[in-house]
Symmetry: C2
Subunit: 159 residues, 2 copies
DNA sequence: TGAATATTGTTATATCATATCATTGCCCCA
DNA sequence: TGGGGCAATGATATGATATAACAATATTCA
């Protein structure tokens, strides 16, 4: 994607979904973990669009085809998907988003549009190295970080 | 504070509390908003240490001297304190922390120690400008951001 | 004073997440 | 091949975080 391409722009989203699921299958095979039907279905639901989605929204959708689904069903699937780097939690929204950079070891950086709800994952080395430097200068050893940027995406500014 | 001074290091914390409350009174007077007894007491409780504290922890403490305190009591005080830039919410912990840079318009950047729980607020221009640049390059207009860095503070690495 | 507004009280409920134990399914190897 | 061990799911209950809605009280200011 060129820099200016945002998930808020029109695109063939079925390709996003197919890619995400294909990559997930590959990753899980490589890691020798099981992408069970429930887990795969939840991942598919998360990838329905580029907006973070809440656990109970997912539950409601899952329950339409899976009567036994209860909160632990969803949270277990979400835990699995997070542990394997397939999704991110957006902390400021208690919601979950498909990872756009599976495989690469990274922490998330997200541009979240407050108008349309779309979240774009970016991975800016200059940001992470600035954080590393600032932390190091204070003797702080980074394990992980959360970066959630709120504002208006390009599409929503034009309205 | 020199760069290496962290709130995890020993210091006369009563000065932190006194400063925070004095500044809060000043700010509220300037902004012509009312730092009522409940609000001031909640701010004092938040400043009891440098660790983010949950709303229900605060409620429990407040309730010891204020029988009528219920969840809305706390959340209203927290809303007020946030609106006036006196505290921050740590999204990844659903907890609240006194603002270390009152007055200056800023978004928070936090170094959160997973061992001792202490959170240090920093304000690195290089980080915020890196975010600005990355966003601008994508046509995204920033309103606010959340940066929460997890790891080990200097004191906890030595153990 | 008395109306308008801000703050607090009160009750109920919405929303997000986990603990615990039972049951089922999968895998590997004796 | 069958059965022990572990992973995954089912089921129930509860914990933790946050807000809605309306009533009562306090403050402000004309
Ligand atoms: Zn898409
Ligand atoms: Zn990612
Ligand atoms: Zn202190
Ligand atoms: Zn601050």
């Amino acid at each position: 994607m060129p820099l200016t391409d945002s998930p808020a722009q029109p695109h063939d989203h079925s390709l996003c979904i197919d890619d995400a699921l294909a990559q997930a299958r590959l990753i899980c095979e490589r890691r020798n973990v099981r992408l069970t039907p429930i887990r795969e279905q939840v991942l598919g639901l998360i990838w329905q669009n580029h907006k973070p989605v809440g656990a109970y929204d997912l539950l409601e959708q899952l329950a339409t085809t899976h009567q036994a689904a209860k909160p632990p069903t969803i949270y277990r699937a979400l835990d699995f998907l997070q542990e394997n780097g397939l999704i991110h939690k957006i902390e400021s929204q208690n919601a979950f988003l498909g990872c756009a950079h599976v495989g690469g070891q990274h922490h998330g950086q997200f541009l979240i549009c407050t108008a349309c709800g779309t979240a774009q994952e970016i991975d800016e080395k200059v940001v992470s190295s600035a954080l590393k430097n600032a932390s190091q200068a204070r003797g702080f050893q980074i394990h992980s970080f959360v970066i959630e940027i709120k504002g208006l995406c390009a599409a929503c500014q034009d309205i």
